[in-house]
């Protein structure tokens, strides 16, 4: 009977030693489960270990929380304005470059037009001269007569010298 009792007691002791103690911890402390605020008067014991904020800190946290959207909106608005400025500037720069390219291209086309016009005029002139060619006989005749005069004069001079 005594040995049986000893066995039962030792069994209970073994089981109690092997069973983890946290399994029986108090589950009423909410700090680790959901965000909770405990209002405390001075000297009052805290229900769990944590951080005690004074009124200024609470006011500051409350203000930041209440105005976080406004703060984010301000930052977003600045970022958007910066992007708009950058993109509209880039568009204006591209427009200016495009207009400049158009002007340069126009100048080039104008030059080429002028060249074509000049060459055409020259061609027309040459064609007219070739078609009319009135001066050929005149200049040839003048050259012929001039040549006779020069030759006769030369021959006369040579004959005079040889006498």
């Amino acid at each position: 009977m005594e040995s049986r009792l000893k066995k039962i007691v030792s069994g209970i002791l073994i089981v109690s030693l092997l069973t983890p103690s946290f399994a029986f911890a108090d589950t009423t402390v909410p700090a680790s489960q959901e965000p909770t605020i405990a209002p405390l008067n001075q000297g009052q014991p805290a229900p769990w270990p944590g951080v005690l904020l004074n009124a200024a800190a609470v006011g500051s946290v409350k203000f930041d929380k209440d105005h976080e959207k406004e703060k984010i909106d301000t930052a977003v608005q600045k970022a958007v304005s910066d992007v708009i400025t950058q993109k509209s500037g880039e568009i204006d720069i591209l427009k200016a470059s495009f207009n400049s390219s158009l002007t340069q291209k126009d100048a080039l086309i104008e030059e080429k037009d002028g060249q074509v016009k000049t060459v055409r005029e020259e061609n027309e002139k040459l064609r007219d001269e070739l078609a009319n060619a009135p001066n050929r006989t005149t200049w040839f005749g003048l050259g012929f007569i001039g040549g006779i005069l020069v030759t006769v004069a030369t021959a006369f001079a040579v004959s005079q010298v040889s006498k």
Binding site: V58, K62, G89, I93, A96, Q115, T118, I148, T151
Partner: protein, 126 residues
């Protein structure tokens, strides 16, 4: 006075002289036309170069103007942002001071106010 045997030579020389005079007249005309054409071409090229230089200068001026305007807008955006943040900080100082005045001796109302802003539960002993 002149020997008759010289006549064929004289005729030949006269013909050669005629050809030379005609050819020189033709070459003078061609040369004149060519130089006139060159003058017009070079004038056209000069005008084109001037127009392109003016266009490039105008483009450079506009780019500088745009970049300067962009810088002004960036500065204005930053100033506006800083102004709003500064206003918010000033408002925060005032609000915190009035919060401290109103709630410093009332932890329950303080906790409720914080709970309302953060959504945290107010501990009621459970």
């Amino acid at each position: 006075m002149l020997s008759k045997s010289l006549f064929p030579y004289l005729i030949s020389l006269a013909a050669v002289a005629g050809v030379v005079v005609y050819a020189s007249n033709f070459l003078c005309k061609v040369s004149h036309d060519y130089s006139e054409q060159n003058r017009i071409m070079s004038q056209l090229a000069d005008e084109r170069a001037k127009k392109i230089a003016a266009a490039l200068e105008e483009e450079r001026r506009q780019h500088a103007q745009i970049l300067s305007r962009m810088q002004l807008e960036y500065d204005r955006n930053r100033e506006e942002y800083e102004r709003r943040i500064r206003e918010l900080e000033e408002k925060k100082k005032k609000d915190v001071a009035s919060f401290v005045d109103a709630h410093s001796n009332d932890p329950i109302r303080m906790a409720e106010a914080l709970s309302k802003s953060t959504g945290f539960r107010v501990y009621d002993g459970k």
